[in-house]
Subunit: 378 residues, 4 copies
Amino acid sequence: MKKLKVAMVGGGGGGSFFGRVHWRALSLDGSRELVAGVLRSNPVAALESAKEWGIQGFPDVPSMIRAWKKGQVEIDYVVVATPNHAHFKAAKACIEAGLPVLCEKPMTLTVDESEKLVALVHAKKVPFVLAHTYTGHPMMMFAREMVRAGQVGQVRKIESWYSQGWLATALEKSGQQQASWRTDPKRTGISNCGGDIGTHAFVAATWVSGLSVKRVSARLNTFVKGRKLDDDFNVIAELSNGGTALITATQIAIGHKNDCGFRLYGTTGSLEWHQEAAEQLIVRRPDHDESYWIGSGAPITSAVVSSYLRAPAGHHEDFFEALGNLHTTMERLVRRQRREKHVPEAYPHPGVAEGLAGMKFVRAAVRSSKAKGAWTVV
Amino acid sequence: MKKLKVAMVGGGGGGSFFGRVHWRALSLDGSRELVAGVLRSNPVAALESAKEWGIQGFPDVPSMIRAWKKGQVEIDYVVVATPNHAHFKAAKACIEAGLPVLCEKPMTLTVDESEKLVALVHAKKVPFVLAHTYTGHPMMMFAREMVRAGQVGQVRKIESWYSQGWLATALEKSGQQQASWRTDPKRTGISNCGGDIGTHAFVAATWVSGLSVKRVSARLNTFVKGRKLDDDFNVIAELSNGGTALITATQIAIGHKNDCGFRLYGTTGSLEWHQEAAEQLIVRRPDHDESYWIGSGAPITSAVVSSYLRAPAGHHEDFFEALGNLHTTMERLVRRQRREKHVPEAYPHPGVAEGLAGMKFVRAAVRSSKAKGAWTVV
Amino acid sequence: MKKLKVAMVGGGGGGSFFGRVHWRALSLDGSRELVAGVLRSNPVAALESAKEWGIQGFPDVPSMIRAWKKGQVEIDYVVVATPNHAHFKAAKACIEAGLPVLCEKPMTLTVDESEKLVALVHAKKVPFVLAHTYTGHPMMMFAREMVRAGQVGQVRKIESWYSQGWLATALEKSGQQQASWRTDPKRTGISNCGGDIGTHAFVAATWVSGLSVKRVSARLNTFVKGRKLDDDFNVIAELSNGGTALITATQIAIGHKNDCGFRLYGTTGSLEWHQEAAEQLIVRRPDHDESYWIGSGAPITSAVVSSYLRAPAGHHEDFFEALGNLHTTMERLVRRQRREKHVPEAYPHPGVAEGLAGMKFVRAAVRSSKAKGAWTVV
Amino acid sequence: MKKLKVAMVGGGGGGSFFGRVHWRALSLDGSRELVAGVLRSNPVAALESAKEWGIQGFPDVPSMIRAWKKGQVEIDYVVVATPNHAHFKAAKACIEAGLPVLCEKPMTLTVDESEKLVALVHAKKVPFVLAHTYTGHPMMMFAREMVRAGQVGQVRKIESWYSQGWLATALEKSGQQQASWRTDPKRTGISNCGGDIGTHAFVAATWVSGLSVKRVSARLNTFVKGRKLDDDFNVIAELSNGGTALITATQIAIGHKNDCGFRLYGTTGSLEWHQEAAEQLIVRRPDHDESYWIGSGAPITSAVVSSYLRAPAGHHEDFFEALGNLHTTMERLVRRQRREKHVPEAYPHPGVAEGLAGMKFVRAAVRSSKAKGAWTVV
C-alpha cells in the first residue's frame, strides 16, 4: 500500500503549535507522509520553513496547486492549519482544484464563507474533514454509537464544556503568538472563546447526540480588561428534539488546561466523557455506573470504531492518536474514492456540514448575547 | 454543660426521610437531645409518632408552645422539617414565642412569607438557622474562608450545580411520598427542582463567594410528561460584582445521586468542591493543583472552621456530620445568647437573609423562564 | 423501644481520641446512650472525666461492676477503649460478670490473653464485638457478601494495606499522647504498626474473603531512629485455600492519612475498596468496571446489609456511621439474646475469634521478620 | 536535519504487537524512519512481511548487517523486538558490527547472556537503549529528577507494581500468540510474569529512586493450572540504602489492564504515579497533596525533561509518545556520538546496566521463591 502524500498550509511559524501536531499525527501510522507545504503566509518565510522541515516548499497556495497540476509534486490531500481568517481562501483553492482538505476549526471567519465552502464541497464531491480533534478519540466515537443504538434512550439534556485558564491574564500583550491572533477580531472573527473552544463543546453536544441546535440564549463575557473579544462563553441551547443543552467555554478558569467534555442524559441512562481522561467512557444506570476503556473488548466498540484502535486497553491513545484518527478518516475517504481494495469504512467525522453549523451557532450566540440573552434562531 | 433540649415539627411520617436525619445529626455530639415534637400534621398521628420515637408528643405547634410556656416541656430550639408549605406557619409561631428555629429549606412557600419571617426574626432577635446541610461541610466553610481572605483573587465566575436522577421517571404516580409532595404545587410552591435543589446550588454560589445575584436568565424544563412543575432548572446569573454564575439543577440525570458542587474561578486561582467527595477541596493554581482534606492540619482551616471538626484527616465527616454542624451553630448561638461560658464562635451559616434571597432567586428564575429567558431582576 | 445503656472503660483522657468517637457513634441512632464509665486509669481522673462528660463515673472497673450488680447503675454493654495493654483485664472482668463487651483492637497485648478471652466468651456466651471500625462500612460488608455468593469466583489473591504518615518523624518524643503509647512496648505489645493498623489490613483480607492465613513471610522495619517498635510492616501470607495475600501497613507514608483498603482477585472478577472513599465498591469484569454505592438500590446489598443503612445514595455514611454499625451489631446481639421482638439479624462482624487470629498473625509476622523472612506458621 | 534510518528485528508476525508499536513510535517525530528489517524468524516470512510493510527486507540478521557494511542499506540503529529468547543473538550481532541497538526487555534469556552484552557494549562503545517504555513517560522522568534533587528527602520505601488480568485463564491453550510464547520457558526464560512485567515494576523502583536491590524474599505463584511458569510475582526487596521495596506483578487481576505504577516514600514527602494516568504526578506533603501535569510550566520539569515534550498541558502524551521518547534518546545518542550540532542532551534512560540488573533481580526472585522465601542476594 503506497503512502499518501500530504501537503500543509500554515502551521510552520516559530510560535505555531498545530502544524507540528498535524505532522506527528499524520506520520503515526506509516501510511501517510508530509511531503510539501506553504507553511507560512510570508512567501520567503514559507520557503525557509519548508527547508527546515525537510519538505518541498511553496511560496503560496496557488503555486503549490499549479505545481501539483503539472505533476511537479505529488499530493493526496491538504491540511489547512493557518489562523482562522486564512482557512477559507486556502480550502477553497484546494477544493476547486479537486484536492481533498483536512481543515482546522472554526471552518472559516464568517458564516457566509462556510456556506460557500459547503456548496463547493458538495459540487466537487471532494473529501473534506474538519479537524475537531476530540471526535477522533475512540470513546467519543463509541459514545456516539451508543446514542445511535438507543442504549441511553431518548436524549433529554446535554452539558458540554471546554475550560481553559491560559487567557486569565492579558497574555496577548506579552506578544505570545497564540494569544495574539486568537484575541484579534481580524484574524479570529466575531468570537475568540466561542470560536476557538466553544465550537468543540458544540460539536461534543451535537455530533455525539445526533441532534442539532435550533435556538440559543447566550451570555458572553470579556473578563480581561482591554481584550476585544470574549474570553468566556455561556449558552443555553434548544435542541432539535426539544431537549436542552448547556454549552459553555471559558479561558479564565485558572488551572484548567484542556478540560473539554460532556454529560448526556437520556431516558434510560447517562454518559460522561472527559478529554483529559479520554480513554474512559462512563455509563450511568439507575443503580450502578459502568466504565469502559479503549480496547477492553467486544462490548465496547462497534466494528468501525475498533478499526481505528492501535493499542490494547490500558495503553492509552490520546491527543496525537485522536488527531491521527481524523487523518485516518481522510485517508480512507481518499482511498475509497479511488476504489483501492480492502480500505475499511471511514467513520463519519465532522465535515463541512458540521463546520457550517458551528459557525452559525457561534454567530447566534454572539447575537443573543448582544440582545441580552434573547432566544435567537441558529 | 447541660444538654440542649430540641423539639421537632414534622419529619415523622413513615416515608419521611429528613426528620430521622435531623435526629441523628443533633444527637451526634452528646450536647443536644431530641425531647419533644409535633412529628406529623395529623394530630393523632403526631402523638403516635412521638410515642414511637420515645419523645414527648404534641398534637400541634400551638399546644407545644403553650406547654413550653407553662414549663411542661423544656425546649431550647425547634427543628422545622415539614414539607415546604408548612415551614412558614410553624417557624412564625415559634419565633413569635421566642423559640429559636432551625428550619428546612426552601424557607417558605412564597417570597412574601419569607419577607415576613425576616422582619420577625430581626424584630425578635431569635436565633434562626436555615438547614442548607452542605454549608456544614468543613471544606465548604473553608472554601468560603479562602475567598474571604483573597486567596483566589477577585471572583469572576462560578459554576454550581445539583444533579439527581431519581425523578427521571414519573415516580410520583407510584405514590412514593417524597416524589409526591415535591411535584405538587400546593405543597412545594412554584418550583420543584429549583426550590428543592436549585436553592442548594444557589447557596453554594452566593454563600461561598460572598456575592449576591442581581439578575437571571433562565430555562426551566419539565421532561417527564404530566408533571406539573419543573424537573430541570438552568440559570445564567449576573453577580453583584459583575461576574457570571451558572446555576443548574436537574432531577433527570440518571445515575447521579446527590451530585452537588461548585467551581469558582478567581483572578489568581480556582476552587472546586463536590458534595459526594466532601472531604476534599481542590485549589488550582496556574502551574499545579493542590488538594486539602478535613483535619490535615493548620494550613487548611481557620480557627473557627477547625472548631467544628470531629475526626482526624482520612476519617471523613460527611452528611450527618455536616448537618450536625448546623445544629452546632444553632447550639452556639443559643448558648452565647445566654452568655454561657467558653462557647466557641458560631460560623455564619445561612439564616433568614439567605432564605429570602433563595426564594427571590427561584421566583426570578421562574419568571425569566416564562418570559423566554429575559434577564429578570432578583 | 428502650434505649440501651452503655458504659465506657478508657477513652477519656485529654489527648484521647477514640473514647469520644465511640460516644458519637453510639449516640447516632437514638437507640443507645452513654450513661457510665471508668474513663481514665487514674481513679481521681476517671471521676473527673465522667463529671465533665455528664455521665456516672467510677474509679475503676470492679467498682462499676459491683454497682451494676447492686442495681446502682444500668448497663447493657461496655465499650473498652483503653490503650492496648489494658484491654484484657477490663474485658475479662466484664465478661466474667456477664456484661457484653465491644472491645477496641488489637484485642489484647498477647496471644495468651486472647486465647483466654476466647475461652471465656465461649463459656459465658456473652456478646463480644471487636471494634474493627472499617468492617462497619456497608460496602465492606457488601464485598464480603459478594465473595460469599461466589460473584467473583474462587479467591486467588488479596492485597490489603493501611498507609499512614503521621509517624514519619519521632512524634513520640514531642509527648504527643497517641504516638507515645503506641510506640511503647509496655502499652502496645510486640508490634506498633502491625498491631495498630496491620490488624486492619489483616481483617480486610480475611474477614472479607472468608479465608484464614496459614503461614507468613514478613519484613518489619523501624525507619525512625530510636523508635523501639516497628513503623513499617510487610507480610506475604499463604491463605487457607492456597492463595496469596500481601498484607502491608506503614506509618511513614507522608501525606497518607487513613489509606486503608483492599483488592481481591477471584477467578471471575476483582473487587476494590478504599476506606477514604468508603461509599464505593469497584467490581471489575474482564471487559468493563462497575461501581456500586451505598443505598443505590437492590442489586447492591443483601437484606441484612441494607438494614444497616441510614441515608440514601449520594449522602455518604462514613467513619462515625461505620463505627455506629458495630454498635448496632452489639445492640442487636444484646436485644436478640433477650428475645426482644422485631430485632433485625446482626451482621457477623469480627469478634473474639477474629481478635485471636489477628494476635497470632502479628506474632507470626514478628517472628518471621526476626527469622529473616522465614515462612512461619500462624 | 537528515532523518535517521531505522531497522527492525522481529515484530512482524500477524499476531505480533510490539513491532507495529515501535514503528509508530519512531515515526512520530518526523526525524526517524523505518527503512529495513528482519521482521520474522522464518526467512521467507521475513521477506514477505517486509514487503507488506513497504520496507527493505532481509532473511536474517547477518544478511542485513552484511548489506549494511556494503552500503546496500542505510541503517542508523536497530530495534530488537523479537520474543525474549532471540534478543541476545540479534543484539550481539548488531553491537559487534557497531550498530546501535534499542532492545526490548527483558534484555536476554539468561543473566549470563546479559553479562556478555554489558561487556560488549562497554567494549564497543555503541549506544544501547533498553525499551522500558514507561521510563519514557515525562512524569516518570520528572519523578526521577525530583528524587535526585532531594525534594522528597531520603528514600525509605517504595511500592511498585504491574497488574494485568489477561492471563487469568489458560489463554495460551487457545493458541493466542502473545500468551503462547510468554508462558513457554524456551522462549521466555525462567519467569513469565516476573520477566515480562515484574521487570517494569523493578525498573520503576530502582531507576526512579537511583537505588539498587541487594537482596530479595519472593513468592511466585502459578494460579492457572497446567501453566509452566509463574503468573503472579511478589517480592520484598532490600534496597542499597537499607530501605525496603515491595515489587509485585500479576497477570490474574481481572479487569486490570496495564496497571503499572509506584509509590515512593521519602523522609519529607511521597510520590505517586500510575501508568494508566501517566500525565499526572502526585506529590504528597504532610498537610496537602500537589498534582503536576505534563507541560504545566516551569516548576514541573527540568530542562532536559522539557526537551522531550510535544504538547501543552491537558493534551496528554501517552503510550506511543513514551516509547517515542526512548527512540528520541537513541536518536540523540547517535547524533551526539557523530557530533551533529544542536542535539539536546539525552536523558539517561535504562540501558545495558539496568537490563543486567533486571535479569539478576528476576533470577534471585525465582531462587528465593524456590527456597521458600529465603533472603537471596541479587
